[in-house]
C-alpha cells in the first residue's frame, strides 16, 4: 500500500508542494511556519471546496464553468438579504445560500440530463446568465462592509481550536468528499459514469441522473462558498470571483483529474488547489509582482496536463505508421 502511494500522482504532487514550500522557506524564512501554512490553507479553503465540486462534475465527463458566477450570485443574495433584514440568523442565510446554489446546479444538470446539451455549452450560457442576474438584482451597486451585520461577517473568521471556521468548513467538506467518493455508491457511480458510460448503464447506473447529482452537489458547494467569500472579504459586487472558474479547473487539472472523466481523487483535487494557493501566497512574500500570478498558473496548468498525459500515456494510439518508416 505504501509502495502504491509512493508511485501515485498524489505523492508526486505532494512532493512538488513540499519542495515549493521549502524553496520559498529557504529564501524567506518563516513561510513554512505552522501559523503561515495554516493561513495559506485558510486562504485556499474556498478554492479547495470548489475544486472538489468541479472534480465530481469532471469525473462524469462534464465541466461546470458557471461555479464562480453561482458563487457570486448567492453571495450577493445573502449580502443583500443581510443588509435588508439584519436580524435574520446567519444559519438561515447559509441554508439559503446552499439551496440557491443547488438550484443553480440543478438547472445546469437538468439541461445536460434531460435535453442532452453539451455541458460546456450549458455552463458557458449559465455563466453569463448568473453573472448578469447579479447586476439585475443589485442594480450594479456594491454591498459594503458597514451594511453587513457583525454576525454575518464574523462566522468565517471566528477561531475554533486555533483555526478559523472557514478552514474547519473546508476540512469537513474534504472529509465528507472522501467518504462520498470512496465509500458510497453514488461516489463510485461518478467514477463509473466517467470511466465508461456504456458499461455504467449495464451495471444499472443512470448516467444522466448521476451527472445531475454531480452538478447539484457542485452548485451547492458554490452556494456555500458564495456566503463564505462575501462574508470573508466583507464586500459583494457584480464581479466577485470573476474568472475564478478557470482557477478551479486549473486546480483540478494540476490535481491529476482527467478532463476525459473517470480518473481523479479527492486528495488530488485538494493538493492541486493547495499548489495554486501556495504559489499565490508565495509571490508577495518573494517580492514578485502579483501580475506574474496569471502567467504562472497558466504555465502550471500546461506543465501539469503534459505531465499527467505522459504518466498515463497508452501505447497503441498510432494507427498508421509515418510515411518515412512505412
Amino acid at each position: 500500500m505504501i509502495r502504491s502511494f509512493v508511485r501515485s500522482r498524489e505523492a508526486i504532487l505532494l512532493g512538488a508542494l513540499i519542495a515549493l514550500v521549502l524553496l520559498v522557506e529557504s529564501r524567506f524564512s518563516g513561510f513554512a511556519s505552522p501559523g503561515n501554512l495554516a493561513a495559506v490553507f485558510n486562504d485556499t479553503a474556498i478554492l479547495i471546496m470548489l475544486a472538489l465540486g468541479q472534480m465530481l462534475v469532471i469525473l462524469t465527463r462534464c465541466i461546470d464553468l458557471s461555479l464562480a458566477s453561482n458563487l457570486a450570485l448567492t453571495g450577493m443574495v445573502t449580502a443583500m438579504l443581510n443588509a435588508a433584514v439584519p436580524g435574520l440568523p446567519v444559519v438561515a442565510l447559509i441554508a439559503l445560500a446552499v439551496t440557491l446554489g443547488v438550484v443553480m446546479g440543478m438547472v445546469n444538470g437538468l439541461l445536460v440530463w434531460k435535453l442532452d446539451i453539451p455541458p460546456i455549452v450549458v455552463t458557458l450560457g449559465t455563466l453569463t446568465i448568473y453573472r448578469g442576474l447579479i447586476f439585475l438584482i443589485s442594480d450594479g451597486a456594491w454591498v459594503n462592509s458597514h451594511e453587513m451585520s457583525a454576525a454575518y461577517k464574523a462566522l468565517p473568521r471566528a477561531e475554533l481550536i486555533g483555526l478559523p471556521v472557514l478552514s474547519w468548513i473546508a476540512l469537513a467538506v474534504i472529509a465528507g468528499f472522501a467518504v462520498l467518493v470512496n465509500r458510497s455508491a453514488l461516489g463510485r457511480a461518478f467514477l463509473a459514469v466517467g470511466g465508461n458510460p456504456h458499461a455504467a448503464v449495464y451495471t444499472g447506473i443512470d448516467v444522466g441522473r448521476t451527472r445531475f447529482a454531480a452538478f447539484a452537489i457542485a452548485g451547492g458547494l458554490a452556494g456555500l462558498c458564495g456566503y463564505l467569500w462575501v462574508s470573508r472579504y466583507a464586500v459583494a459586487y457584480v464581479d466577485v470571483a470573476g474568472g475564478f472558474e478557470l482557477d478551479v479547473v486549473a486546480a483540478c487539472v494540476i490535481g491529476g483529474i482527467s478532463i476525459a472523466g473517470g480518473l481523479g481523487t479527492v486528495g488530488g483535487a485538494v493538493l492541486g488547489a493547495l499548489f495554486l494557493g501556495t504559489i499565490k501566497n508565495a509571490l508577495p512574500v518573494a517580492g514578485i509582482s502579483p501580475f506574474w500570478q496569471l502567467a504562472i498558473s497558466g504555465a502550471a496548468i500546461i506543465i501539469a496536463v503534459a505531465f499527467n498525459a505522459r504518466s498515463s500515456a497508452k501505447a497503441g494510439r498510432l494507427i498508421l505508421r509515418p510515411e518515412s518508416t512505412a
Binding site: L115, I117, G125, T128, L294
Partner: protein, 332 residues
C-alpha cells in the same frame, strides 16, 4: 433511421425531403428569421436605429469577434477548441505596443501583431498535436499564460500613442459607411466559406470532426490539419488584435477580456456542433449579425452590457434547447 426500416414500396425516393422543405427546416433559415425579428424590433424600439451611420457603428460590435469565430468554427468542427483567443489578442496587442516604443511604423506593427498570433497558435497546435493533450485544458492554460505575459509586461500601465495610419485599420472607412473592418469581415466570411464548403481541406476538417480514426485511415493527415487550424485561429486572433488595438488606440492587459466565451457562443449559435463534425460558415455569419444587433439594439435602449450578456447566454442555451424540447414533446 428510415433507411433501417424495410422499404414499404418497391422504389426508394432519391431524397426523403425536397430542397424547399429541407431549407425551411435548416438552422440558417431559423437564424435568419431571428435576425430579421431582432432587426424589426430594433427599428421599433429606437428611431435612430435605421440611420446608416448608426448601422455602420453597429457592425463594430461583431466584426473582430466574427473574424476569430470563422477560424474557431473550423477548429470546433474538427473536434478541437481554442479558449486562448482573447489571451492571444492581449499578447499580440502588448507586443505591438512594446514595438511602438522603438518607433516602428504601421506595417511593422501589423506584422508583429500577426506574427505573435501565429506563434501563439503554433504553441497551442504543438501542445495538442505533438503531445496529444486535450485542447480544452491546453488552451485554458495558454489563455492564462498569454494574458499573464501581458500582465507581466504592462502591470497596471497601458501602451498608447499609436500612429494615425495604424488607427485607420480600426476606425477607417473604405467607402461611405463601409468600414475597413466590415470589408475584412466580408472578405474572411467568403474565404472561410469557400475553404470549408468547397475545398478538400474543408472536407477533411468535417471528416476529422466526425471520426478522426476513420479520417486517418482514409489517409488524411489529421495532426497536420489540426495544426493548420490552430495556426489559422492564432492568425485570426492576431488580425483581430490589430483591428481592436487600432480601434481603441491603447493596449491594456485586460483588453478583450472574456471574448473567448463570446466567440464560442457565436460559433455554437451559428449551428456548429460543439461535439464537432458539422457546421457552416453562413450560420456563423448570421450568428454574428444576431449577436451584434442584439447587443447594439439593447445598447441604444441604454441596457447595460452585463444585462445584454444575459440575453446572449439565454440565446445560446435557448437556440439549442428549444428544438430539442420540441422534438421531445413531439416524440411522446
Amino acid at each position: 433511421m428510415s433507411l433501417l426500416d424495410p422499404p414499404r414500396s418497391r422504389s426508394l425516393p432519391d431524397r426523403l425531403t425536397g430542397p424547399a422543405a429541407r431549407l425551411s427546416r435548416s438552422w440558417e433559415v431559423l437564424l435568419l428569421g431571428i435576425a430579421v425579428l431582432i432587426f424589426v424590433a430594433n427599428t421599433q424600439a429606437s428611431p435612430y436605429f435605421l440611420d446608416p451611420w448608426n448601422l455602420s457603428d453597429a457592425t463594430f460590435n461583431f466584426t473582430e469577434k466574427a473574424m476569430i469565430a470563422f477560424a474557431m468554427a473550423l477548429l470546433i468542427i474538427a473536434g478541437e477548441i481554442d479558449l486562448s483567443v482573447a489571451g492571444i489578442i492581449a499578447l499580440a496587442s502588448t507586443a505591438m505596443g512594446w514595438a511602438l516604443q522603438f518607433g516602428l511604423g504601421t506595417p511593422g506593427l501589423v506584422m508583429i501583431g500577426l506574427a505573435v498570433g501565429l506563434a501563439c497558435g503554433a504553441v497551442n497546435g504543438a501542445l495538442v498535436t505533438r503531445l496529444g493533450l486535450p485542447s480544452i485544458v491546453v488552451t485554458i492554460g495558454t489563455m492564462s499564460l498569454f494574458r499573464g505575459i501581458s500582465y507581466i509586461v504592462l502591470g497596471d500601465q497601458a501602451f498608447n500613442g499609436y500612429p494615425d495610419s495604424f488607427a485607420w485599420l480600426g476606425r477607417g472607412y473604405v467607402v461611405w459607411v463601409i468600414s475597413f473592418e466590415l470589408v475584412l469581415f466580408a472578405l474572411f466570411a467568403l474565404i472561410y466559406g469557400i475553404v470549408l464548403h468547397r475545398t478538400n481541406f474543408g472536407r477533411h476538417v468535417v471528416t476529422i470532426g466526425n471520426n478522426p480514426t476513420a479520417a486517418r485511415f482514409a489517409g488524411i493527415r489529421v495532426e497536420r490539419v489540426k495544426m493548420v487550424l490552430f495556426l489559422l485561429t492564432g492568425l485570426m486572433s492576431g488580425i483581430a488584435a490589430v483591428c481592436l488595438t487600432a480601434r481603441l488606440g491603447s493596449t491594456r492587459p485586460s483588453i478583450a477580456s472574456a471574448w473567448e466565451l463570446e466567440v464560442v457562443t457565436m460559433v455554437v449559435l451559428g449551428g456548429v456542433s460543439i461535439l464537432g463534425g458539422s457546421g457552416s460558415i453562413p450560420g456563423v455569419v448570421l450568428a454574428a449579425l444576431v449577436m451584434g444587433m442584439v447587443t447594439f439594439g439593447l445598447g441604444l435602449l441604454n441596457v447595460p452590457g452585463i444585462v445584454m450578456s444575459i440575453f446572449i447566454g439565454a440565446l445560446l442555451i435557448g437556440v439549442i434547447a428549444i428544438p430539442r424540447l420540441v422534438a421531445r414533446i413531439r416524440g411522446r
